[in-house]
């Protein structure tokens, strides 16, 4: 994959899917760091630097966020809304990565300014192809105001 090592925040409650994302990035030998949150509340605590994540050194801003929609505690669309309302966080690309093919979810995600909406493939090979293309694009080509130089850490 192209691009400098970057930090990815993966917000996903399904451990199997999270593992596939991690393995896919490993397969493509990407040296980016992946932080992983398994519910919406922890994800927002991390991003908003609340509670145990109040130290910025321990909660570096991600360069890209992969966000599932069906999350425990706080739903993915709510997490998206909070991110896009925050002046600093709104600059981070949020890619909705979900099993949902519901039109309402797609429309609502874009209404809340998701940068992209992708449906998780069912097959592992296709999933790794998606991660490859996603990495090439978002970590290789896309420019963000927060992009900086900057390996999977569970938060």
């Amino acid at each position: 994959m192209k691009g400098k090592p970057l930090t990815i925040l993966l917000i996903e409650d399904n451990e199997d899917h999270a593992e596939i994302v991690r393995r896919s990035f490993s397969t493509h030998q990407v040296s980016n760091k992946i932080h992983y949150a398994c519910d919406g509340e922890v994800a927002l605590d991390y991003l908003l630097r609340r509670k145990e994540y109040s130290n910025p050194d321990k909660s570096p801003r991600p360069d890209v966020i992969l966000l599932d929609l069906r999350l425990p505690k706080i739903d993915g669309l709510q997490v998206l809304e909070e991110i896009k309302k925050d002046e600093a966080l709104s600059l981070i690309p949020v890619i909705v990565l979900t099993s949902s093919e519901e039109k309402a979810d797609v429309l609502e995600a874009y209404h809340r300014h998701a940068n992209s909406y992708v449906v998780k493939p069912l097959e592992f090979t296709k999933f790794t192809n998606l991660m490859r293309d996603m990495g090439h694009y978002w970590l290789g080509w896309n420019v963000t105001p927060l992009a900086r130089q900057c390996g999977v850490k569970r938060i």
């Binding site: 209404h111 992209s116 992708v118 420019v143």
Partner: protein, 149 residues
């Protein structure tokens, strides 16, 4: 269909050649200023017939444009309930931090700096096409990809 908003004819030709090189089935409609771009997406003026101005699946938008600036075009698109779901990829020579920031503030889906070399430009077009036309779900078409690539 891809709407390319680019006033530099050389750059526009590179984009078109790059897509032709990958034999994409997507048609490219090229406009050279911001006002015409807005006429197109808002289906007004010469583009008032929806059949002649179908909603684009993707907009590639330069920033420095005649008549109406790219950021203003972006703002109009993203403020519109009907249009905000169209992915808008800023494709520009500008690496100015302020431009990147403003584009994000106006909810550009993505910001890309044009490579200087043609081969890199074609690599970019390949990756851009694979992602936005292959994987991304467009709410206006609700095309569910993943099987296209």
């Amino acid at each position: 269909m891809i709407l390319l908003v680019e006033d530099n004819e050389d750059h526009a030709e590179i984009v078109k050649r790059s897509f032709r090189a990958h034999k994409t089935a997507h048609r490219i409609h090229h406009v050279t200023d911001g006002e015409t771009a807005l006429d197109y997406v808002l289906q007004r003026g010469e583009y008032s017939d929806p059949e002649k101005s179908p909603r684009p699946d993707l907009i590639l938008l330069d920033l420095r444009l005649p008549k109406v600036d790219g950021l203003e075009v972006l703002k109009e698109i993203k403020q519109s309930e009907d249009l905000r779901g169209i992915p808008v990829v800023i494709l520009t020579s500008s690496q100015a931090g302020n431009d990147v920031r403003m584009a994000c503030d106006y909810h550009a889906n993505s910001y890309i700096v044009k490579p200087l070399e043609f081969s890199k430009f074609t690599d970019l077009m390949r990756d851009l096409r694979a992602y936005w036309l292959g994987w991304n779900v467009n709410p206006l078409t609700l095309d569910l990809p993943g099987s296209k690539e």
